[in-house]
C-alpha cells in the first residue's frame, strides 16, 4: 500500500459515509417531494425531524472528499473541475438551495402553510437535483468519455445515457436508504408507509442498476469489467445481492432495524464496487492515483492529519447520533417497545 493508495481508500470511505449519511438526507428530501396519502403531513414532519440536527454534519463528508482530493491528487481535482464544470455547478446549486431552503422552512413563519409549502418545494426539488448531478459526475468519471472534452471546449461532453443512468441510480439509492432509516424512526401506520416506500425505492434501485450495468458495456468498459470479470466480481455481486435480499425480507417482516442495516451494507458495497472497478483510475482513462499524486511529503503529512482528525471526529459523531438517534443508533436489533 502506497500513501496514494491509502489516500484513495480514504476518499472512497468518505464517499461511502457521505452516501450513507448525507445521501440519506437528500433521500429524505425526495420523500418530502413524494409525500402522499392520508399521512402526507406526518411524513414531511418526520423527514424534517429526522434530518434537522444532523444534515450539516453529514454534509461535511463531501467537503472532506474535496479537500483530500485537491491536497493529495491536485491534477485529478483540476481535471475533474474543468471537464465536469456544468454538472458540478448544478450540484452546487442543488446543495445551496437544499440547505438554505430547509433552514428557511424551519424558521420562516412555521404557522403559515403557504410559506412552508413554498420552501418545501425548493427543498424537495433541490434534494432531487443534487443526487442526480452527483451520480452524473460519478458516471462521467467512470466512463472515460469526458476526456475528449480537452481544455473545456465541450461543456456538455458528459451528457450521455450512462452518466444519466448513474444519476438516477444515485437518487434511487438515496431514497431507498432514507425510507429504510425513516421506517426505524416512525411508528405504526407511518412506519408502514415508509416500509412500502423502501420496497418501491428498492425496486427502482434494481431497475436503475440494471440499466446502468447494461449501458456500461458500451460506455464504461472498466465498470463493466468490474461487474463481470474481475477476480472479486462474483463475490461482490453475491454479497450485494445477499444484502439486498436481506433488506427486502426484513422490510416485509417489519424488522426495520435489520432492514436498515442491510440496506446500508448494500449501498456501501455498491459504492465500494464502483471504486474497486475504477482502481487505480481517478478519471478514466488516463488520470490515475499515481499520475495525479501530490509530492510524497504532502501525502504522508495528510495521512497523519486524517488519522488525528478522525480520532477526534468519530467520538464527536457518536455523541451526535446518540443524542438524536437513540441509545444504540447503529443497532440492527429491534428493541421491545
Amino acid at each position: 500500500m502506497t500513501p496514494a493508495d491509502l489516500l484513495g481508500a480514504s476518499i472512497l470511505v468518505a464517499l461511502v459515509l457521505y452516501a450513507l449519511l448525507g445521501g440519506a438526507d437528500f433521500g429524505g428530501g425526495i420523500w418530502d417531494l413524494l409525500a402522499a396519502g392520508p399521512r402526507r403531513a406526518e411524513q414531511r414532519a418526520l423527514v424534517e425531524h429526522a434530518i434537522g440536527p444532523i444534515w450539516e454534519a453529514n454534509h461535511v463528508w463531501l467537503i472532506l472528499v474535496v479537500v483530500v482530493l485537491f491536497t493529495a491528487f491536485p491534477a485529478a481535482f483540476a481535471a475533474i473541475s474543468v471537464e465536469l464544470f456544468v454538472p458540478l455547478v448544478l450540484l452546487l446549486a442543488g446543495i445551496v438551495l437544499r440547505g438554505a431552503s430547509f433552514t428557511f422552512r424551519t424558521y420562516d413563519r412555521p404557522d403559515d402553510d403557504r410559506v412552508q409549502a413554498r420552501w418545501g418545494l425548493v427543498f424537495s426539488g433541490s434534494s432531487v437535483l443534487a443526487p442526480l448531478m452527483l451520480g452524473v459526475v460519478v458516471g462521467a468519471l467512470a466512463s472515460g468519455r469526458v476526456r475528449l472534452a480537452a481544455q473545456g471546449s465541450a461543456p456538455l461532453a458528459w451528457l450521455s445515457p450512462f452518466p444519466v443512468a448513474v444519476g438516477l441510480l444515485a437518487a434511487a439509492l438515496f431514497a431507498y436508504l432514507a425510507a429504510t432509516y425513516l421506517a426505524v424512526e416512525a411508528e405504526g401506520a407511518l412506519r408502514d408507509d415508509f416500509r412500502r416506500r423502501a420496497v418501491a425505492a428498492g425496486v427502482a434501485v434494481f431497475a436503475c442498476a440494471a440499466a446502468a450495468a447494461a449501458l456500461s458495456f458500451r460506455e464504461a468498459p472498466l465498470v463493466f469489467a468490474g461487474l463481470t470479470h474481475r477476480r472479486w466480481s462474483v463475490a461482490l455481486h453475491l454479497a450485494t445481492g445477499a444484502a439486498a435480499v436481506t433488506a427486502f425480507v426484513m422490510l416485509f417482516r417489519g424488522r426495520v432495524r435489520a432492514a436498515r442495516g442491510a440496506a446500508a451494507v448494500q449501498v456501501a458495497l455498491i459504492v465500494l464496487g464502483w471504486g474497486a472497478s475504477q482502481y487505480p483510475y481517478l478519471v478514466v482513462p488516463d488520470v490515475t492515483l499515481l499520475s495525479a499524486s501530490a509530492p510524497r511529503a504532502t501525502q504522508v503529512a495528510l495521512l497523519w492529519a486524517l488519522a488525528a482528525g478522525g480520532a477526534l471526529l468519530f467520538p464527536a459523531l457518536a455523541v451526535l447520533f446518540r443524542v438524536f438517534k437513540g441509545e444504540r443508533p447503529f443497532s440492527v436489533v429491534d428493541r421491545p417497545r
Binding site: H59, P74, S81, V96, L312, F324
Partner: protein
C-alpha cells in the same frame, strides 16, 4: 466581460457573500454561549431568551454559511484549476484541518440547536463552547492558506512546478500570525457591532428592556474589546506588509515615488497615469514612521517596480482607506463605551445612536480589508509565482454562472436578512424553541 474577469467576479462575489457568514459563524456562537452561561449562573430569564433567539439566528446564518462555503471549496477548482493543481499539495494541509474544524462546528451546533431538551446542561453548554472554538479554528486555518498566497513558502520552484514541498513550513508562512490575529479580531468586531447595532436600535425605543440590555452588553463587550485591539494588530500587519510585500504597501498608501520620510496620506485618489495621488491630506513623514517606526525610513514607491506587477492602486488605496477609517471609528466608539462602563453609567441615548450608526461599519471594514489583501496581491494568486491569468479555468462562458450565482446570493441574502429581523424584533412569534425540537 472576459472569462478571466467573469471568473474573478464570480469568485469575488462568492467570497464577499460567504465571508459575512463565516465571520458570524466565528463570533455568534461565542455570544450565544456567553448568554446561556449567564443564564445558568444567574437564572436571568432575559439571558435564556437571548441565548435561544441568538441560537436561532446562528442556525440560519450557519446553514447559509455552510452551503456558501461548499460553493467556495468547489469553485477553487471550477474557476482556478491551474492554481489548485499548483498549490493544492502545498496549502492542502490547512484546508484539510479546516475540514475537521468545520466538522466539529456542524456536529456540536446540531447538538446545541436541537439539544435543549435532549442533553444535560453541561453537555449543552460544552457543545456551544465547542462550536465557538471550532469556528475560530476554521478561520485560523483558512487564513493560513491566504497568508501563504501572500507570502509563499515551503517549496522550491523547479521548471514552473513545485518541488521539495514541506507542508508544515508552507502552513506557517512569514507573517501568518499577524494575518490570523487580524482576521479573528475582525470577525468578533464586525459581528459584535452588527449585533449591538440591532439591539441598540431596539433599546432606543424601549430603554428598560432587560433582553436588549443583556444583548448589548455581550455583543459590545466582545466586539468592543476586539475593535480596541484591532489597531494594534493592524499596525503589526502593516509593518509585515511593508517588509515582505513592498508593492502592496505602495499601492495601499498611494505611494508612487520612492522616498525617505514618506508622508501618510489620508483619503486621496491615486492616478496611475499621472503617477501621483491627488486630493490626499498628507501627514509629513507619517508613512515612514508607521511602516518602519522611523521617520526617515525609505519607502519604495510603485515606480520602483515594473508596471505589470502593480496592483490597481486606486482600488487598493480606497479600500484601505475605508478599512482604516471605519476601524478607527469602531475603536473610538469602543473607547467611549469602555469609559461609560468604567464609570458604571447606563449607555445614554447619544451613545446608543452612535452604536446603531456604527452597526454596519464592522462588516464594511471587514469586506474592505479582504479587498485590500486580494486586490493588493494582483496580478498574482500566489505572489511572485503564479498570476491570476495563469490560474483561471479554460472553461468558457463564465458570465452565465456569474449572473446565476449573483442572483442566487442576492435572493439568499434578502431572505436571511428578513428572517433575522423577525427573530430579533420585539413581537416576534415565539412558537418554536431553537431548531423546532418541540
Amino acid at each position: 466581460m472576459s472569462d478571466l474577469l467573469a471568473a474573478r467576479w464570480l469568485f469575488g462575489v462568492s467570497l464577499a457573500f460567504h465571508i459575512v457568514f463565516a465571520a458570524v459563524g466565528v463570533a455568534m456562537p461565542l455570544f450565544m454561549v456567553l448568554a446561556e452561561w449567564r443564564w445558568r449562573r444567574t437564572g436571568s430569564a432575559a439571558h435564556l431568551e437571548l441565548a435561544r433567539r441568538w441560537a436561532k439566528g446562528t442556525a440560519i446564518l450557519f446553514a447559509v454559511g455552510a452551503v456558501s462555503g461548499t460553493v467556495i471549496s468547489f469553485e477553487l477548482g471550477l474557476l482556478w484549476p491551474r492554481f489548485m493543481a499548483f498549490a493544492g499539495p502545498i496549502i492542502g494541509m490547512p484546508f484539510s484541518l479546516e475540514g475537521f474544524a468545520f466538522f466539529a462546528e456542524a456536529i456540536f451546533l446540531g447538538i446545541y440547536l436541537y439539544g435543549w431538551d435532549h442533553t444535560s446542561p453541561r453537555l449543552h453548554l460544552a457543545s456551544g463552547a465547542a462550536v465557538a472554538a471550532s469556528g475560530a479554528l476554521s478561520a485560523f486555518f483558512v487564513t493560513l492558506a491566504n497568508a501563504w498566497m501572500n507570502a509563499p513558502a515551503g517549496f522550491e520552484l523547479v521548471g514552473g512546478a513545485p518541488a521539495a514541498v514541506s507542508p508544515f513550513v508552507a502552513m506557517f508562512p512569514p507573517g501568518w500570525s499577524h494575518e490570523v490575529i487580524h482576521v479573528l479580531l475582525s470577525c468578533y468586531a464586525a459581528t459584535g457591532f452588527a449585533v449591538a447595532g440591532i439591539h441598540a436600535a431596539f433599546l432606543l425605543r424601549d430603554r428598560a428592556s432587560a433582553f436588549h440590555r443583556a444583548a448589548l452588553r455581550i455583543a459590545l463587550g466582545v466586539g468592543g474589546a476586539a475593535a480596541l485591539l484591532q489597531p494594534i494588530s493592524g499596525d503589526l500587519s502593516a509593518r509585515q506588509v511593508a517588509a515582505e510585500q513592498p508593492v502592496k504597501l505602495a499601492a495601499l498608501e498611494g505611494q508612487f515615488e520612492t522616498e525617505r520620510g514618506a508622508p501618510l496620506r489620508l483619503g486621496g485618489l491615486p492616478d496611475p497615469e499621472r503617477m501621483e495621488t491627488r486630493f490626499a491630506l498628507e501627514i509629513p513623514k507619517g508613512l515612514s514612521l508607521m511602516a518602519f517606526h522611523d521617520p526617515d525610513a525609505e519607502v519604495k514607491g510603485l515606480r520602483a517596480f515594473p508596471r505589470e506587477v502593480w496592483p490597481n492602486p486606486r482600488n487598493v488605496h480606497l479600500s484601505f482607506q475605508v478599512m482604516v477609517g471605519l476601524g478607527t471609528l469602531l475603536a473610538a466608539v469602543s473607547a467611549a463605551g469602555l469609559i461609560l462602563a468604567v464609570r458604571r453609567r447606563e449607555p445614554p441615548a447619544w451613545y446608543l445612536r452612535a452604536v446603531v450608526l456604527s452597526g454596519p461599519a464592522g462588516f464594511v471594514a471587514l469586506e474592505a480589508g479582504w479587498l485590500v489583501t486580494e486586490w493588493g496581491r494582483q496580478p498574482f494568486t500566489v505572489r511572485g509565482v503564479l498570476t491570476t491569468a495563469a490560474s483561471v479555468t479554460p472553461v468558457q462562458g463564465l458570465l452565465v454562472p456569474f449572473v446565476a450565482f449573483g442572483l442566487l446570493y442576492l435572493f439568499l441574502g434578502a431572505v436571511t436578512a428578513s428572517l433575522l429581523w423577525r427573530q430579533m424584533a420585539p413581537r416576534a412569534e415565539r412558537s418554536r424553541p431553537a431548531g423546532g425540537a418541540a
